[in-house]
Amino acid sequence: MTESATKHETILTVKDLTTSFKINNKFYKAISDIDMKIKRDEILAIVGESGCGKSTLVNSIMGLQDPSETKITGEIDFEGQDLTKISEADYNKIRGAKIGMIFQDPLSALNPLKRIEDQIEEVLICHTDMSKQERRARVLELLDQVGIVDPKRTAHQFPHQLSGGMRQRIVIAIAIACKPDFIIADEPTTALDVTIQAQILDLLKDIQKENHSSIILITHDLGVVAETADYVHVMYAGKIVEKGNVDQVFNNPQHPYTRSLLKSIPQVDSESDELYVIEGSVPSLQNMPATGDAFAPRIPWILASDHEENPSMHKLGHGHEVRCTCYQDFYFKEESDA
């Protein structure tokens, strides 16, 4: 395949995805109306605060939820298969082999009773027909690739003997063992120190470039997004409220939520004493409004007529999309006072 042909190939398409959880025999929508596409060679970041549904979204893609407690509707198209309809056995062939996953907490993602080499080898046993020697060689190669200084020694160690950064490297090695086209990283650096975080993000970027794979990066840290991602989806209350490339979202944010979030970061040069605070709080699952813009209660100074009843995505050109028309008339409260 030529370089240009691989570049625009879509790997995953999500259409109108809704995931509901059962609470007291009633289903509540945790995420709804999710439409997204991820192309080869692309890092897509999904940002939002806790409870906005970003982890629910990736767990739905990976099929990690208990089917008796959840209801998933819509389509998740991965390489021609609809992941919402396939059997558990088929799913197992995809997970680990074609989609790799990196979890937030590397200590709980690794088995404390198994040596590192056995844990990485497990993926290879499940998904490849390599011989034992080949697998062992591949394990060492992988450890080297994720920047472990002494692969032979580390391979024989147990997770508790490694530092947090090293453990996360092992989790990454497991995720990329079968060279998947597609990696999901759920808050991969949240539990790590800033200097280690920088190393892990650089590593992820290098691996992505080397394997021409795609990454969905889930995070709440806007700095991480700005440094790593190509495209950004901002989520609020279970819906994507803004889509665009990093430049559009950070330099020309449109949705009131995105703008408020960027405003509340402590700034480098700002001498002001007060940080910007978004009024109110994120609605809980049971209190989620069925219609209307979920962010409207948090910007009460914007007229109700500026919000749509059933907010839809508006295309602003060049792939930049925003939900609800309220962005057109949005201003910050103190701007009106001035």
């Binding site: 605060e49 806790s50 947090g164 120190d193 800033v194 200097t195 975080q197 920088a198 190393q199 993000l201 650089d202 709440h220 840290d221 806007l222 700095g223 991480v224 700005a226 440094e227 790593t228 990093v246 430049d247 950070f250 330099n251 408020s260 979030l261 960027l262 509340s264 970061i265 402590p266 700034q267 480098v268 004493d273 007060e274 940080l275 910007y276 605070v277 978004i278 709080s281």
Partner: protein
């Protein structure tokens, strides 16, 4: 006079082993830390996990036994527990913890949680106590109907505000805030930090602000100390640390913060990798054979850096000339 003065503070934890389970070695969690905090000032203690920043805070308030060193509070020696009893140290120094869920008793109502320090230190009638609790709740923006609720009925940000209300209940002079916002979302974090600043303006309290988040520290702190391996490697005003970092470790830490400037990200990445490479090469110059930082040298007024002897000489010469 400074409010609190910490001089050569050491906290060592014994490693036991061998036949009689004797002390084999020590973990030098805090290894010779000295700093001062002025009244009404916010002093930041920054470092990565394991740098000893939390242990320092816990030793000051008395949750960790001091191995050696001296802590002076308003001129009184408060290193040992006995000395603390003589002045109102336990009332004047309070703490805000990182995890607001485990630091609030799940079986108590908010009223008794916030009233507990008042019960310990002040003789109030039940009515006075209730009025005081309501005042405190108002300061941190909680509505009066929260009085009879339990901690689990609140969100993370609200719980952290309850922790702040409890910490300032006795009108303390120093509040030690150990990672107060690191478990919170961005918008909630802003709110909690604003309340902390407002309280400082109104009550004149000093903060010892312990955090790993350099963005938050820059917003909150007047003076900052950077800790690494149980020692302070650089200490100075906000400008000194962020605009003119001298120690290699400080430079590395600052370069690692992800910024939201999308346009500069390739440049930032290059700079970060350059400093990371430099850190790997020159790291040994900045620490002695035992892996300890060198003594602090004053490079400009109030800006102290643990420079290697060779570079430190430069600054000593300048000083002598003056």
């Amino acid at each position: 006079m400074s409010l609190i003065k910490v001089k050569n503070l050491k906290v060592h934890f014994p490693i036991r082993g061998g036949f009689f389970n004797g002390v084999v070695d020590n973990v030098r969690a805090v290894d010779g830390v000295s700093f001062e905090i002025q009244p009404g000032e916010t002093f930041g203690l920054v470092g990565e996990s394991g740098s000893g920043k939390s242990t320092t805070g816990r030793a000051i308030i008395g949750l960790e036994k001091v191995t050696s060193g001296e802590i002076t509070f308003e001129g009184h020696d408060v290193t040992s527990h006995k000395d603390r009893k003589e002045i109102d140290y336990d009332q004047d120094v309070q703490m805000i913890f990182q995890d607001s869920f485990s630091s609030l008793n799940p079986r108590k109502r908010i009223e008794s949680i916030i009233a507990e320090p008042l019960k310990n230190f002040e003789n109030l009638t039940p009515e006075q106590e209730k009025i005081k609790v309501l005042q405190l709740m108002k300061i941190v923006g909680l509505s009066p109907d929260a009085l009879y609720k339990y901690p689990h009925q609140f969100s993370g940000g609200q719980r952290q505000r309850i922790g702040i209300a409890r910490a300032v209940a006795t009108n303390p002079k120093l509040v030690i805030a150990d990672e107060p916002v690191s478990a919170l979302d961005l918008s909630v974090q802003a709110q909690v930090l604003n309340f902390m600043k407002k309280i400082q303006r109104n009550m004149g309290v000093s903060y010892l602000f312990i955090s790993h988040d350099l963005g938050v520290v820059r917003h909150m702190c007047d003076r900052i100390a950077i800790m690494n391996r149980g020692q302070i490697v650089e200490i100075g005003s906000r400008e000194d640390i962020y605009k003119h970092p001298k120690h290699l470790y400080t430079q590395r830490l600052l370069a690692a913060i992800p910024s939201t400037r999308v346009a500069d990200r390739d440049k930032d990445r290059e700079r970060r990798q350059k400093i990371e490479k430099e850190y790997k090469e020159k790291q040994k110059d900045y620490y002695d054979k035992e892996g300890r930082a060198y003594p602090l040298v004053e490079v400009s007024k109030g800006h102290l850096v643990a420079l290697p002897p060779k570079e430190a000489l430069k600054y000593k010469d300048i000083k002598e000339e003056n």
